[in-house]
Amino acid sequence: MEFELKTIEALAPDQASLSAASKLTKRSNWPRLEKNEQQALIWGECQGSGSNPYRVVVDTGDHGYKCTCPSRKFPCKHTLALMWIAATAPASFAAAESSPEWVNDWLGRRRKTSPPPVQPIEGAAAKSIDEAARTDESAAAEDVAAVERREAAQRKRAEDTRQAVSAALDELDQWIADQLRLGLSGFVDASSDRCRRIAARLVDMKATALAGRIDEIPSRLMALRSEEKPDAAIRELGKLVLLAKAWRAAPDDPELKRLVSTSETREQVLASPDARQVESFWEVLGEKIESRRDGLVSHSTWLLDLKSTTPQFAVLLDYFPASAGRRSNAFAPGDRFDARLVFYPARKPLRALVAERMGEVMSGAWPDFSLGATKDPLAGHASYQDAAPWITDCPLLLPPGAILVDDRGTGWWQAADDPQGIALPIAGAVNQTLLGLDLAATAALWDGARLDLLAAQSGFGRLDLS
């Protein structure tokens, strides 16, 4: 496993990539660094700017590489950083007997070619690893006046944004009133065009996050039966009214700002004194990767806190451009790890970042949350709605139950001890095998109309349902 800095310099697409890679060479950015000398492979997981870690593997023999980040630079800064660590601190890599499944997947897909000689590419002369390493250290201290000017400009920008968003919400209010006046039946039929138009206006007026949410309303309605759509439209539009009112009451509230305009950066969340931190064992319940109408792909990884006495969840949420192509999953469902998570400040914190990963945890059954004692399986949902009524998808851990089917083939979850009681319809097609299994506990997302299954525990062990 030998890497020369010259090789990295030659491979780097530009100086900016090298500089960015230099900042990622800190050991703390890499919760996992491993190597297999027999296979001439090094790999690692880099905690980048996203919530989900990026997985990077490099073939030290022919300098082939793969990273799960959406960058269009090849190799990306994560790959360069991994090579850089291999060149300067090879002892950081723990020897692994076998390579993990995601590395094997990559190996299986690629065809090995004879290693091309690493030639300095055009413009390579302008790249220098020394300069990249220096950039970090030599960040010149700004003078006080410059800092003040920058902060003043920031304040002005924030004020401008607030005014633009306020105007955007006025337009949204008017638009909602128009939909009610014209009739929701017409709205349901023409939701695609109508939502697109108002979403475009909201983007222009800096209410970007809200625009993205409105853009998704048509596809949420489409997933329902026609008789359910008016109720769903009432729920969707009503939640928008609530969110707009809440923002007007507290425009600086971080949760509301995140839902209406833009989200905080990773650094801001990590530095926030209001951000709750939880160190625990986490299990990956499942992942949801959805293409959105605004050209982004949302990638959410749902986690369950295994040390908590009541069901506590976290979601690692990332967005990346759909044009970046299909991304490999960051985690495999069922993975367990010991980590400190920092939650984005919210009334019911769900979205989180992995601040520090301490290692893997043995698999096993979920803790006993005494779910049988709760009569209402939607009690968790009600609690989320009481605190933050604009939330659309609430994670739930359902008590012992089973999946049943109706005449139309739709699956329904029903509690085991209450066959006449509440039943929750399941989103999408149900795996027929699931109909014969008793589910001791089921993790799912409830959006007010459908249950999106994530995982379950059964007599046949853990079931991956996402």
Binding site: Q39, S99, E101, V103, N104, D105, L107, G108, R110, K112, D173, Q174, I176, A177, L180, R181, L182, G183, L184, S185, G186, P230, D231, I234, R235, G238, K239, V241, L242, K245, S363, H381, A382, Q385, D386, P389, A402, L404, V405, D406, D407, W412, Q414, I422, A423, L424, P425, N431, Q432, T433, L434, L435, G436, L437, D438, G448, A449, F460, G461, D464
Partner: protein
Amino acid sequence: MNESEQTGLATMRDCWITGGATFDLAPTAWKTIAGGTSPDEQERRLLAIAAQALDVALRPAPPKTLKRRPPLPRLALPMLPERLRPLLRAALKHAADARRKTRVVTLVASRGFVLHPMDWMPVAPDQNSPDVYAPWIDWQASLDGERQAPQEKLTAENWDEFYPAARRIALADMRRSEPASARLLVEAKASGEPAEVRLALIELMRFGLNPEDAPFLKSLSADRSGKVRELAGRLLARLGEHGRSNDGGEGDPAAELAAFISEGKSGFIRRRRIYTPAKLKSPAQEKRRAELFETCNLVDLAARFNATEPEFIGAWQFGADNNADILIARMVAASGSDAAVTHMADALVADGGKPALFVLHLTPRLDSRRKRALVRLILKQANYLNAINLAEGIDAGWLEWDDLSNGSALAALRSAVAENDNAMRRGADEILETIGFLATATTAAKLIDEVVAAGMPPAAPSLSVLRLNAALAEHQSRTDT
């Protein structure tokens, strides 16, 4: 939410659907919250309250017709250990079709494990899965879920209490141990079953087929289903019974087929009879000959030449006409007696060369020993290594390292792996997958090392079955110690 609020919400909902103001329809408490502002703002406030009420206070109404399936039965073998499931899933993912997936399942069953139901489930009328999966096949097929497969012996009285797959397995076992009792059962019950089930039941008669079955099989010549009649005719032919008129007149297909075959003599001292396919003059003739081979029985054809089945097969000149050779091999497999089948297999395997590959058509009727001999021969010759992928019904996990290393198979595989030619590599991939199923765990582990040394990436998907095979043994040895 009280009753008046529910009624108010329903009326407001109807009004919003068509369009219009709902303030006057709202429950009093809601009016208090929403009132005192502009009409648009009132509507928005009411909408927010309604949204919250729909989300929290109302529950979905399940239809009364919700159906629960019976619990998935536990199988007789333990579940594949969690640790090996990623390897299994990789092997299943790589297996391109149902037949190959079933091979993976068979390999795992041969090592004493069953799969997790979320990884693989047999399809309802599946007759190729290992017998241990019968309860799942029946679970898949059952809609009412009322019956429970009983553990006692199958009889005419408890016939209906067995699910089809369990019944099929019980009958097949019975045919092996008590063929007469099984036949009597089929005789008593088959006529009441639909044609498809009847065909599957008659098909079981091939286990332990003996002359005592002939009267029953003859009685099926009046069956309503053409497929059943044809199958019964084939089974009778295996017993040496002539199925069709043998008068040689017009309309006798065996006579017509015989005209496509030339009889001659060979050898200087001991002149012996030989049969060679006659030269064909047109595609129409070729087509007709193929049809005749498919409809005629070997016993009738041999009789046209006054020969017994083994005599006829022994005198057939394999290698003269490839198409004719394939057709005769299929005919032997379908209607030849056991003696004809074994005679053909033994003779061709002993002679080796390309004609031995025609034995592949006979594999469904060969015993385990002969099937293994054929696989060993294919590996030893290595000229037609791809033919190993065609072998059917062969046991899993018996191929030893010597079987691979004695001939040229290993060298051929190594060079195919090292080649830059994609077609060669793909061919090698398929062979490795098949050997992954046939090999012992030790052989599988050694073969992985060999091909990786030859240049195959260690994690190549084509090694997935071999990896699973090797890992299954590791697990067994761990649990043994």
